[in-house]
Symmetry: D4
Subunit: 233 residues, 8 copies
């Protein structure tokens, strides 16, 4: 009976603050962090959302602001003194819990130096959501020996987030070496026919390794969310 | 030491049959089925690969041929009498084990009647890989009550494969209703500005639900592989 | 408006001011507002067009400048003292009539906080054209309960303008819940594979709800024009 | 329609026939016809859905199958003797009511001879949904006098559906001549840089006439749905 | 005998100034102006090329620099005192002859105010190449009466350059009203699905008027070159 | 006064035959041939249009059907005994006049053997419209000596139609060798990254020769129309 | 080849057979084979070109027809009895010399079974042009051990042609393992977001290995030409 | 280079400096220069990588930083006093050896003045990798005589790098004039339908000259790498 279903949903918790409806429930349903996507919001809007999020002192949810800049950070810092800014990835973290709820380790692998910002976004997100995290940087496929050197690390992970720009070939190679799920994140690294990450995105969607799925270009946050959601299963 | 890594890899098992190198190891690493991608191979090639796969009588690996047609099926039937053809999805299955190794249920949800072939490919693949499977068909977002009616089924799944063409909005709605991973499969259903599944693909990559990842257009097989790989964690 | 003035304008359908032909007639044919599209025009050009528009003191047409910035506003303010600037959407309004000519209510629904600028452009346009307007913000499909909470508001509207970026799924869900026309506006919100609104545009063009039509990306103005034109029928 | 019947359907909003969930409710919410999209469904599936639709003898809903072919028609004919096939547009109609519920006339204008199939789909849909319809064919913008010749017809319509391929310029010109809403339908007519209707689609989305909205390429059905939904306001 | 052909070509005049080979011959073959494309060249490079061009005092060739800015103009002004800068279009002209060599009038028609920069580039180029020029601005197709009002001007031209952004429909309408060649120039005016002029470009390439040809987006210069080349026939 | 303009246009001649409005006037305005675009019309429709065209026995207009096939030809042959089919290009010609009205020669140059069908369409069209025509086939730029060998032919033409697929470089080279207008026709020849003529189209739009304009992919007919229209100036 | 014959051809650089200009000279300049691209030519045209090519009995040039089918082969067989058809790749070879003129070995590596047709085209071309050839099939990057197993073969080649569809990652991995040039050939293998080889093409263009260059999709012939041209240095 | 040093590096194939793994080995395998891609790295990161590279005083490898700016140069200058900045191309060179190891001359040909930056990147790279280099600038195909004038230079090269934007036709013409390999580099020069180099890229991929291969847009560095790798064969 749909009307009943409507009714049930109606009572789920969110707070209406005018320009936004803060969905505390989502944190419960989908992880142990409350998240604000900073891009396209004014510093004042972000700060106001964060203020609502940190209001419940007893809450153990970490707070994460992604795609932030120094202006947003300044505004957030004013409403929460222990906010921390990670400049490379533009992530703000407010740690309220160090509890580890994920069962295994999430490994973030990235191909080149310029993929590190996206990889960092993934790492911080996964950590804020209560996971043990490891990383492996600068292991592009044109120097395959650098990746093979670290096979042990690959096989010890429960979920792998694989970040790569340009041809986006890394997830295929990594996917072939392990049996756990690989979340591939194309990055907008590159120039010319990389088309701001489209080449990498297409490469990953066409991966011949069957344990690879893909998220949006530069979406380190999303990859970590999925990885975290898998790691809690 | 990369040379050592090379050496280790060198002894992994595959059989070279000229035009193909059958990788039994992959079945071990990545699932409990041996798989042939039928498209772009001649019936003779597919049959020969299947022949090698079913040679080890003791093996309990199910065999799956995807993107097959009646000609390929005829050729496969000659090398394996208990091959079965599923016309809607073009999948051939050779069942050699009914063992369930996945921990929970994989639910395949699809939006419209014309998405069913891809959904069936996902269902058959997930089953062949040792998972309990359920399905929920024809629950497109323009009649949201049809989906809400089945919320219970959604919340009982451990992994969800979500198949949709046209605007590809279903995974966002489903992803918002559950906390488990949702593997989204865009389909080439539609016409005009659906661009053979590109609209659905882009919709899914931009999903505002953070537990959604995406595989290639019409790749029901791949979605089920990932789902199965997650379900064994 | 006096029939005489109407007649006079009918026979003087546009004024040629060199770089532009101001079409008073269009305001009569297509709404109760005179409109300047600010983008790609110099502040001086916009101000000159506005000067011609407000010259007829007796006219009750509201004047609207869209895609304006503070420089354009400064220039317009000099020719019309009661011009008002709406910074979020970059709209300048000069109100000369509060008359309501639309028969019902136009409801503007938007998916995320960063879609609000486009939604505001639609709201201001619809109001300037003589319509009662309502809005419903931050009701994205990944938190479907936030939308369902407001079903009453949806069913009370005579026309709905539905603004969404990213996967653009909102109009399909809204369209399925009501029986009135839904004008969908994709926004350039998002990143990566949102391709500056293309993903949302394609999603909306492929909507499985049959009461949905689409306007250009970020075209809140156009959506409100059509909505207003329907609301006067 | 008796309020009682309406109530009954409201509480039985869809019938589940396995591969499809027939949504009688949608006909009530969104028009006076029940519709099956034929493409991507087997003749047997279409016929079964139609069978369910025509089962309630008392119902006055017309039935429409779009994107059908002669095979589908043969199957449908077997379950409903008075089904009629319109070969140009591939539409099957089963008329059960001639009642006119739309307030004004829907005019379907098309640009070239090869746009007629899509225009016919729009005409048949609008008529099946209870509207008075008129048409105006072969009035492309390169012979603008042919269109101007028929200005009267344009100004007498309450809603206009405007079908055009190639450069898709017709809706802009028509939109500029009338003050009612114009639903633009790009067609896949053309070759080379028409890209199967993309050129026309883009042209229409960028229309400089502010009373134009757009539906998917070749979507004559959708345009008529929206037009009908507007015409009942 | 290709070698002979090579030899003949070898003696055609150009001056090698290191980073560029100034082709005086081209001015003879293709018009009565020497032209420098300013974009992508440093002010010093442009000035040096202009210096070589104006060195022959007796030459009557006008000099034109397109896509210039104030920095380039400052550098050019130093090597040629009577250089003139046209800020709207970014064109620098050095007039050395007022001779009219074109047989008829080249009319430049443009659709909107923001198309004027490109139209001005076309006008200045055509004039520098020895043609009588006329213009007709702000006659977009959504107000078709503004165009029809000026039919006389259209029919008096020997060649028409037609500049339009957004849906690019103007050349089709103009082309249908005249029997002379129409050179269509798409502009990057617009937003969203105009894709920086692609929508207009496609519209023009698909024009149903058979006397329309197309040049690159924003290429007012090129359109005027072709128009001038036709006007000298 | 637009109403007057409307009135004047209203009396231009066209015949309304239901599905088409035959525009005899266009033949007068735009050439000396009446033309039917065969693609997307049924054989019966084409034949009916031709029947109307040839009805006026005294007319000296040649009739041209483009994009025809053998079925269309059979139908046309029945209404006009002296119709002739050119299989390579799919053009049907009905010659009723051999009069030459063009002032000079139109030269059709093509790059490869597979570009010949489009070149033939251009040749037949130009001839039907009363022009002297010449051709030069298989002179691709990778064997530049083959083109240079024929420079004389190039310099004798008054207008050049230049047909090329793949990289579409021929018009740039030809344009640099002559001072007359060059109408470039990209063809859908090629494979892979030729994208059915897009590569050639883009190449031609970016031509560095300033006397080159472009028509749609495979549009030999359109190129000849423009060439003819220029050649009558 | 006798110097005299070479001289004679040098002064008769092409033979004009109407629809084609057979360029014997190119065979001398660019390889030791005469080549016809079969696609888009009629069987009769191909046969006539081959007839001219094989007319000089003394010539030692091998003849190659690419993209041929059985109809073309039948026609060619009639003019040259020792023509041989390779069905997988659609290549016809007429061997007239077994001389090896390339200095080293050209190795053709391919990723999947369905890439073999393109790989075969490359192999036959390289051999016909006088090179020693080797191949390595079915060594996709998701099973990296299969490639590493054959590292010796990789390091023994003087030039490598690397054929791959889907994500096109193979050339990056191969390029990183060797120091010789790698010619990458994307194939149209795959489905969905492979976009007929575009994904592989982009992957290869963005290769992070610096010894990789790219040819058109499915252009095994072109890759072998370049490889052969390098191997003769 | 002493065999001992080679051996040492072979067993220490990369140095891990945290954010990057400096691969001295690659310099040995793939050329005689160590290279840093500057874009996307901070000045500090680049300088640190360079510091590691120049640490081995005895090494004779030249060091190259591409896509650098003045900030990166300042940082690099601090760790290596003899670093030199080439502003046009943004390349930093640190010369430690003048040894010529390439067998012939690498000729860099470019089409227009604005292609020179990319051509300079290719020249500096080729020289740093131990090759004799020559260049030929501003020889676009629309003035074919400028190219033919320099045929001798073309025929003296062992490998040609051909840099062109806009229509990208130069490699086809050059490829047809020589028998050595031509590495084509599309540049992002141009505007409108050049799509930042895509038009040139497609043109080159579709080149009808069979000795042409292609690298990424603006990738002068990559072209020189491949040319150098060929020139050492």
């Amino acid at each position: 009976m749909p009307e009943a279903a409507f009714e049930r949903l109606k009572h789920l918790p969110f707070e209406d603050i005018g320009f936004a409806k803060v969905d505390h429930h989502r944190a419960i349903r989908q992880g142990y962090a409350e998240v604000v996507f900073g891009k396209g919001k004014t510093p004042a809007q972000v700060a106001e959302i964060v203020r609502v999020m940190v209001r419940y002192k007893a809450s153990r949810h970490n707070v994460l602001v992604t795609r932030a800049d120094t202006k947003i950070f300044a505004a957030v810092k004013r409403v929460s003194g222990n906010a921390k800014f990670h400049a490379l990835s533009g992530v703000i973290t407010i740690e309220r819990s160090k509890e580890i709820s994920g069962k295994g380790t999430i490994l973030v692998v990235s191909a080149g130096t310029s993929d590190i910002p996206v990889a960092e976004e993934a790492l911080l997100t996964a950590r804020a959501m209560g996971n043990r995290v490891e990383h492996l940087f600068d292991v592009g496929v044109a120097g395959i020996h650098r990746l093979l050197e670290h096979r042990m690390k690959l096989t010890e992970a429960r979920v792998i987030v694989c970040v790569a720009g340009m041809e986006g070939a890394l997830p295929s190679v990594v996917g072939g070496l392990v049996s756990v799920p690989v979340i591939a994140v194309p990055t907008s690294t590159g120039y010319g026919a990389s088309f701001d990450g489209v080449a990498a995105l297409l490469g990953m969607l066409n991966s011949c390794a069957s344990n690879v799925t893909v998220v949006n270009i530069d979406n380190g946050f999303g990859a970590a969310c999925v990885a975290s959601c898998i790691n809690r299963l």
